[in-house]
């Protein structure tokens, strides 16, 4: 099959996948079969995109998936609001989000220290972790270019994950232990940066 045909197939599967999921999630009871069919179609779309044009095909297919979902959302947005649902709507908010500001911040902690830990200190720990990844790539026989790009790519992934993990922790001691632990485990690899290139 030609790459153009595969791309069209990927687009068709993407649209079909979104449509099936829309139908599946509308049902009052869960349907494992429908869910698997929907997710399966989306997975098949991505695979077809990859087979058609590699990473470019995957990117294009994902755009089609999102666009199809937006079309479905546009129909949902155009639906008239149901009358007498305000109370239920509020109840829904209460179930999925805290009712008050106090609920979102149950403990009083120094915002400045939290900011420092989740911000610059986590960033520094992430850079150390990225350099450790580079050292490991090079020690495993990887190319210098791969090691260097690993540094550039690891920081934007590691830092937000570390920051989020810290913000999910209630106790300051645990926060400090996590960020210092990452830094301490990564720091020795600094000694291997010159020796491995």
């Amino acid at each position: 099959m030609g790459s153009d045909a595969l791309l069209w197939m990927a687009a068709a599967l993407a649209i079909a996948g979104v449509a099936v999921l829309r139908l599946s999630w509308e049902r009052p009871a869960r349907s494992r079969a429908w869910n698997i069919a929907g997710w399966g179609a989306l997975l098949a779309a991505v695979l077809a995109g990859d087979a058609a044009a590699g990473e470019w095909g995957i990117a294009a297919t994902v755009l089609v998936i999102m666009f199809a979902a937006f079309v479905v959302l546009a129909f949902a947005a155009a639906k008239p609001a149901r009358k007498g649902r305000a109370t239920k709507g509020r109840a829904k908010i209460a179930r999925t989000s805290p009712r008050t500001i106090e609920e979102t911040a149950p403990e009083r902690r120094s915002g400045l220290v939290t900011f420092a830990l989740a911000g610059p200190i986590s960033l520094a720990a992430s850079v150390l972790l990225a350099l450790a990844v580079r050292a490991m790539v090079l020690m495993a026989g990887g190319a210098e270019a791969d090691g260097n790009v690993a540094v550039l790519a690891t920081v934007p992934i590691a830092w937000p994950i570390l920051s989020f993990a810290l913000l999910m922790m209630s106790r300051r001691i645990r926060q400090c232990a996590l960020v210092m632990g990452v830094a301490a485990v990564s720091a020795p690899f600094l000694l291997l940066q010159n020796g491995t290139v």
Partner: protein, 437 residues
């Protein structure tokens, strides 16, 4: 389908999501809004200077004549260290030569036609990727916000236990807090792949001054160029002895003959007029995310090889793919339209996120209507500022003070909204309101 997370975990995730969102909301909104507009970077340039000569292609001999004409025009000053020729492309069908001191359009014959005037597009680009600040500070800041967008995406997923079950529920016409929440959650959920791609690539580019400097300091004695050389190639040793200007014609002919499937779009002449001069051609590879491959030639047009962005290591290909994936210029107008749509969605997500927080405060009997008025002012002010600078460009020309106009309009919108709030006795009318208990 639901993700099984404890209520406490969800609550903490909401708390983390709110904290991150509040810290980042203003600049993140600005970055998302300007990023959406800059998708049309090439089209804006064409609008700014609609009388520049356009062509679908240019003959190699004309390119050479253009180079010689530009260098002759600069004979009264030190010779440029680098000379860039932008070849006509589908998105920007113009031939433009840029040196260390100027940029000019050339016509089909290679004659200098007019100076390039795209100050507004450049302003918009600079506003997006460095907030009009010095590059080190501005790009790092934008990179930091890109990384925080990743954190917001992750925390948003964890904070939303019915993420899939509710994925198509959008009660937009209720025009209340529920509608605001639905807009935020639905647009955010369906743009997750886009948001992650944009945020990660943006953070990778923007955080270079932090991660790249860390790499250079630890492995290359602080030399950032040496750190990047394994990825993007190194600059050959120069030879300053005078020599006739290099001829790029054989290099362009070689590309047409040996790599007909590629689309050359940039010719770079390094150290022109010296014995060490050499030529690089950047060529697009259709249906690839990489911005292109560097094809190296000697000053006499002998092919020296490629860097490996198209077929080198995974790291090289990944690094070369970040730019196109971020800016959405890998599939022509359809991909650009998609990027604009999803970029707008992300902008709405950031704007509504803050409104949701304000609604929560109101439900907790701690209304912040002054903050709400200020946020409305900023939300309106950013697009108004961008529109005002574009109008200034059209009315006042290339030299309009875009940075001053943009921030003045932003501040004015904010001040007007606060004034409007004050005049109404502190009671907001006409804004998104939550049902009172």
């Amino acid at each position: 389908m639901t993700i099984a997370l404890s209520k406490q975990t969800v609550r903490k995730a909401i708390s983390a999501h709110s904290a991150l969102g509040l810290i980042c909301c203003a600049l993140l909104y600005l970055i998302c809004a300007t990023g959406t507009a800059i998708v049309l970077y090439e089209e804006w340039q064409r609008l700014e200077q609609h009388d520049a000569p356009e062509m679908t292609a240019i003959a190699p001999a004309s390119v050479q004549r253009g180079i010689e004409n530009v260098l002759a025009a600069e004979s009264d000053r030190p010779t440029t260290t680098h000379l860039y020729v932008h070849l006509p492309t589908r998105d920007l069908p113009r031939a433009t030569i840029t040196t260390d001191t100027q940029a000019v359009h050339i016509d089909r014959s290679g004659a200098i036609a007019m100076p390039e005037e795209n100050a507004w597009a450049e302003f918009l680009l600079a506003l997006h990727y460095r907030l009009n600040l010095p590059a080190v500070i501005g790009m790092s800041l934008v990179g930091l916000f890109g990384a925080m967008l990743v954190a917001l995406t992750i925390s948003g997923i964890v904070a939303h236990p019915r993420i899939f079950r509710d994925a198509f529920r959008l009660r937009a016409r209720r025009a209340d807090a529920v509608a605001t929440l639905d807009w935020h959650n639905r647009l955010a959920v369906w743009t997750i792949p886009f948001a992650l791609a944009i945020a990660l690539t943006g953070a990778m580019i923007g955080l270079f001054y932090i991660s790249g400097v860390g790499l250079a300091s630890s492995g290359y004695g602080g030399d950032s160029e040496a750190a990047l050389a394994p990825v993007f190639g190194a600059e050959p040793e120069g030879d300053p002895a005078p020599a006739p200007i290099a001829d790029v014609t054989p290099a362009l002919a070689f590309m047409e003959r040996e790599f007909p499937q590629t689309i050359p779009y940039y010719v770079i002449l390094h150290d022109p007029g010296t014995a060490g001069q050499h030529v690089q051609i950047i060529a697009e590879h259709p249906r690839r995310l990489i911005f292109g491959e560097y094809y190296a030639f000697s000053g006499k047009g002998e092919f020296r090889g490629t860097v490996g962005l198209a077929d080198g290591t995974v790291g090289q290909q990944l690094a070369a793919s970040t730019y196109n994936l971020h800016f959405g210029n890998y599939g022509g107008l359809p991909v650009k339209i998609a990027y604009i749509l999803f970029g707008l969605a992300m902008t709405v997500v950031v704007a509504t996120g803050t409104f949701i927080w304000l609604d929560k405060r109101e439900r907790a009997a701690r209304p912040s209507e002054l903050l709400r008025a200020a946020w409305w002012g900023f939300v309106v002010g950013v697009p108004a500022g961008v529109a005002a600078t574009l109008l200034s460009r059209l009315a006042m020309g290339n030299g309009a003070p875009f940075v001053a106009i943009f921030w003045a309009v932003c501040l004015l919108a904010l001040a007007l909204n606060l004034l409007r709030f004050k005049r109404r006795g502190g009671v907001l009318k006409g804004y998104i309101r939550v049902p009172t208990a």
